[in-house]
Amino acid sequence: MNCEKSRDLMPDWIGQEIDAGELKELKNHLHACTTCRQELAQLSGLRGSLLSAWPDEPIPRPIRFEFDRPSPANPWWRFQRWPLYLKSSLTVTACFLVCLAGLSFSRTKIQLNQGDFSITFGEGTAEKAPASKVISADQFQSLLKKAVADLDQRQNLRWQELFQTREEAESRREVELRGLSSKLHYLETTQNLVWKETLLNKSYVESLARDLYLRTSQARSSQP
């Protein structure tokens, strides 16, 4: 064994976890090497100094818990410590199940018939579903005709509503157009009047200018 290997074993010696074979090898080396022997002696001495320098102390204030908080075994306490997404999803599921149980308890009947949604609480007022039965070809045809007639009637009503709406829109449009044409007429008349007035003003200004020119020229000719 060399000094390097000896130093590798020193932590095992200090930690008192050295096995018998390695201990024998180390001892053999220590007999021969003064440096390693001194180092190990110093480290062992330091170990003793450390132990005597810091003995166990009593705890200044004993720790005791007042168990006003719930125990970790309490399901509610455990639930509170779950992640938020888990808590919220479980709560929503629980609410849904409670609603479902309530509806089934009150014998609620929910129906969706040809687009008409109906909900009935309790057994007394609920409409019993017609029992299934075999019908003849004539009955089927008459039922079919009735259904087609119903459909036609509904379609006619829709058409009538549509026509009525269209007529109303057209009449409104006519009224608006009439109003617009009268406004245009008024605008045209007003513009004509303005135009005439402008022309009159222009001729008046021209006559004034001509008069002034004549007077000026007469005055110049009368001067010696």
Partner: protein, 196 residues
């Protein structure tokens, strides 16, 4: 006396069954050891007390997450260790951190002891036990957290290398290396100041 025969595992199971008072038995069983561990790791009694309180509170809150109730003490020490480490990282234990960065030449143990404990070291003096205690404790402050932790767990708590490695989450070889380096560093500091 009957309580002494009850194992940690049984006490943990009692707490999980809803008998919360059983946790106080666990506390009284481990508080002194945990306090001394935290005290040696931080070098501050008040801080060690706070860490103890926090570690037991955290242990109670997370007891249902403990996979092996038989390893309660190990788990508790790991919680306390994490608290110590986070306080060390957050800079609450400023003195060792700063001294460590300044390097070996800047270490002034005499100054540290005179500041912290009102003592003065004279050259060639034979130290009394109390002074030696202060000197060793002061020298521990100069070590990095990992080396100090390893020395505390090995020398004072008597844990095996494999247990320390599990606690510190590092290989056994690293633990041995930390112990050797820490001891060598301590020896150097104490020899220099003993001669000085």
């Amino acid at each position: 006396m009957a309580l002494l025969r009850v194992t940690d595992q049984e006490l943990v199971e009692r707490v999980l069954q809803g008998k919360a008072e059983a946790f106080n038995h666990l506390v009284s069983r481990w508080e002194k050891k945990l306090y001394n561990y935290a005290c040696r790791l931080t070098g501050d009694r008040e801080e060690a007390m706070d860490i103890c309180q926090d570690a037991f509170t955290r242990a109670y809150e997370q007891l249902s997450q403990l996979k092996d109730p038989g390893k309660f003490s190990f788990w508790l020490f790991k919680i306390a260790r994490n608290f110590c480490f986070s306080r060390y990282r957050s800079g609450k234990t400023q003195v060792p951190l700063q001294r460590e960065k300044e390097g070996e030449d800047a270490i002034d143990l005499e100054n540290l002891l005179s500041q912290d404990h009102g003592l003065r070291l004279d050259s060639g003096r034979t130290f009394e036990l109390q002074e030696m205690q202060l000197m060793v404790r002061g020298a521990l402050d100069f070590l990095p957290f990992e080396q100090r932790e390893t020395i505390v767990l090995k020398i004072y708590e008597g844990l095996k290398f494999s247990e320390i490695a599990e606690l510190a989450e590092c290989p056994v070889s690293t633990v041995k290396s930390r112990l050797y380096l820490g001891m060598a560093q301590l020896k150097k500091i104490l020899t220099e100041k003993g001669q000085g």
